[in-house]
Symmetry: C2
Subunit: 282 residues, 2 copies
C-alpha cells in the first residue's frame, strides 16, 4: 500500500493510496477517510467500514472531493473507502465512449476480448480491495457496508446479492437499476460479457431482486429531476423487483434533485446513519 | 441575470448565473445557494447573505462543489454567494503564470496596462455583484458578510476594511495575509498597480490592520501543514497586525491541516455560525 497523499479532514485523515491488484493486473487507487475514532483505538480494535462504488467517468476522487461525506463518517466512526471505477493505464484496453472501458468497469468480471485481461472489477472489489483494507487499515471487514452512485449503485446492489454475507448493509444513490434495459448497460454488458443475455441477467439488479433479497433494509434515493431516470436508470424496475420479492427497505424519490453530487451530498447523512445503524447490530 | 444551471441541494437551490458587469466590461459568473428558508419568505422579507471570495485558479465552482458549505448555509438560513475570481474571455488580458491574470484578479482595481480595461475586481465585488444580488435574489444587502480562501481571504480582509459598513461580518481561511512580502502578491500588485509600493500597502491586510480595525470579531483559520504558510501567506504578520491595533477576533491554527478544500470544509460550519451570529445582531 503506497500512500499518494494524506491530509487532515474533519478531525480525521483523508488518504489516497495505490496497491497492486492481482485481479486487474494493475495498480489501483483508493481514497480512504479515517474518522477521528481511528486515532484512539485500543490494541486490536477495529472500526466498521463503508465501500462506496462511484459512477461512470469517476475516479476515487469524485465522491471524496464533492460529497462532503467525511463529516458524517467522522460523526459515525465509520471508515469510508472509495475505490477507482476501473483499471487504468497505457496497457489497459479503452474506448472512445465515456461509458465503456476506463472509468466504466461496471463492477463485473469481463470474459471478452479486449477487456478480459484487466477488467475484473467484481473480483477486484470483493477480494483484492477488501484484502488490502484488512491488512493495512483499522477496519473490521466483518462489519462492511456497500453503497454507490449510478453505475456504482448498480455495483452495490448486485455485488451485495452475488456475494452473500460479504456486505452487511446496503444503500444506493440513483442506481442503474435495470442495465439490460438501457443503452449504458447493453453496451458494457455486451462488450464485457458477450452476447448471451443470460449472463447479463446475473448482473441486473431489477432481475436479481425479483427472486432474491438482501438480509436487511436497503435504502435507495432517486432525484425526480434526474435526466437519466428513464433513459439510463429505471428506478421503477427496482421498485417492482423489491415489491415482487418483498425486499425490505425504502426507495425514496426527491422532487427537485438531479443526478449530481449536490443530490448525493444532500442525502449522504441519511445513508451514513443507515449503514452505521445496521453495522452496529452485528 | 442569466441562469446557467440550477438544481436541488440540502432542501434549497444551487444556482449558477451570469450577469454583465460594468466594472469588468465582461459577463461574470456567480454561484448562489438559496437555503430552504428562501422558499417560504413573506412578501418583502429577505435573508442575510455571505459573499465568499475564492483563491488563485478558482472559478465560482470550486467552493460550490468542494466545500460542503450548503448544509451549513441551509441550517443557518444564509444565502451563500460565490463569484468568479477574475474577468475572463478572449478579449481579456492573461498570462502564462497561474497566479497572474485570469483566475487571479486579487480583488483590486488594476491601473496598469494591459490589465486596467477589465481587471476591476474591487469595484466588481463591492458594487456590481452586490447590485445584481439585491435586484435578483431575496438577500438583504444590509446584512452581508464576507469570507474567502487564500487570495480570497486577502480579498475579504482588505475589502471589509476598505469599504466600511458594506460587510457586517468577516472571516477568512488561510488568507494571503501579507501580499507585499510574498511572490504572489509582489507579482500581481506590481502588474496591476504599478511600481509605487505605497499603492500596494493599501491592499495588504498585514499593513491595514496595524492601524485600523473591523467593527466586530474576525475569525481566521490556518492549517499548520499548509505548504504555503511561510512562502505565500504569512499568518504571523496578520497576528502581529491584529495585536497592534487590538483587532477583536481569533486566528486559529490547526495541526495536520493543509491548504485544500478538505481544510476549508472541515471548518466551514464554524464560519457560517460566526457570520449568522454576527448578522443576526443587526
Amino acid at each position: 500500500m503506497n500512500i499518494i497523499s494524506e491530509c487532515g479532514c474533519f478531525g480525521g485523515r483523508q488518504i489516497t493510496f495505490e496497491h497492486d491488484s492481482a485481479a486487474t493486473g494493475t495498480p489501483m487507487r483508493v481514497a480512504v477517510f479515517l474518522p477521528p475514532a481511528a486515532a484512539t483505538l485500543a490494541p486490536g480494535e477495529r472500526l466498521p467500514g463503508l465501500v462506496f462504488l462511484s459512477g461512470l467517468t469517476c475516479t476515487e476522487d469524485n465522491v471524496t472531493i464533492k460529497s462532503g461525506v467525511q463529516r458524517y463518517a467522522a460523526e459515525a466512526g465509520l471508515v469510508f473507502i472509495a475505490p477507482d471505477t476501473s483499471p487504468r493505464g497505457e496497457g489497459v484496453a479503452d474506448d472512445e465512449r465515456y461509458d465503456l472501458g476506463q472509468g466504466a468497469g461496471f463492477y463485473v468480471d469481463a470474459t471478452q476480448a479486449p477487456w478480459a485481461p484487466h477488467f475484473q472489477m467484481e473480483t477486484y472489489i470483493t477480494r483484492d480491495l477488501i484484502a488490502v483494507v484488512r491488512e493495512n487499515l483499522p477496519v473490521d471487514t466483518n462489519r462492511l457496508g456497500v453503497s454507490g452512485h449510478s453505475m456504482g449503485g448498480h455495483g452495490a446492489l448486485t455485488l451485495a446479492l452475488r456475494h452473500p454475507g460479504l456486505f452487511k448493509s446496503l444503500s444506493a444513490f440513483a442506481p442503474i437499476a435495470a442495465p439490460m434495459q438501457v443503452d449504458w448497460g447493453q453496451t458494457c454488458f455486451g462488450a464485457y460479457l458477450g452476447d448471451d443475455q443470460s449472463r447479463w441477467a446475473e448482473h441486473d439488479a431489477s432481475v436479481l431482486y425479483r427472486s432474491q433479497t438482501f438480509p436487511g433494509p436497503v435504502l435507495v434515493d432517486q432525484g425526480e429531476d434526474d435526466p437519466w431516470q428513464e433513459s439510463g436508470l429505471r428506478t421503477e424496475a427496482l421498485e417492482q423487483a423489491f415489491a415482487g420479492s418483498g425486499q425490505q427497505g425504502e426507495i425514496r424519490r426527491h422532487a427537485g434533485y438531479d443526478h449530481s453530487y449536490f443530490f448525493v451530498g444532500s442525502f449522504f447523512d441519511d445513508h451514513i446513519r443507515h449503514h452505521a445503524r445496521e453495522l452496529a447490530r452485528l
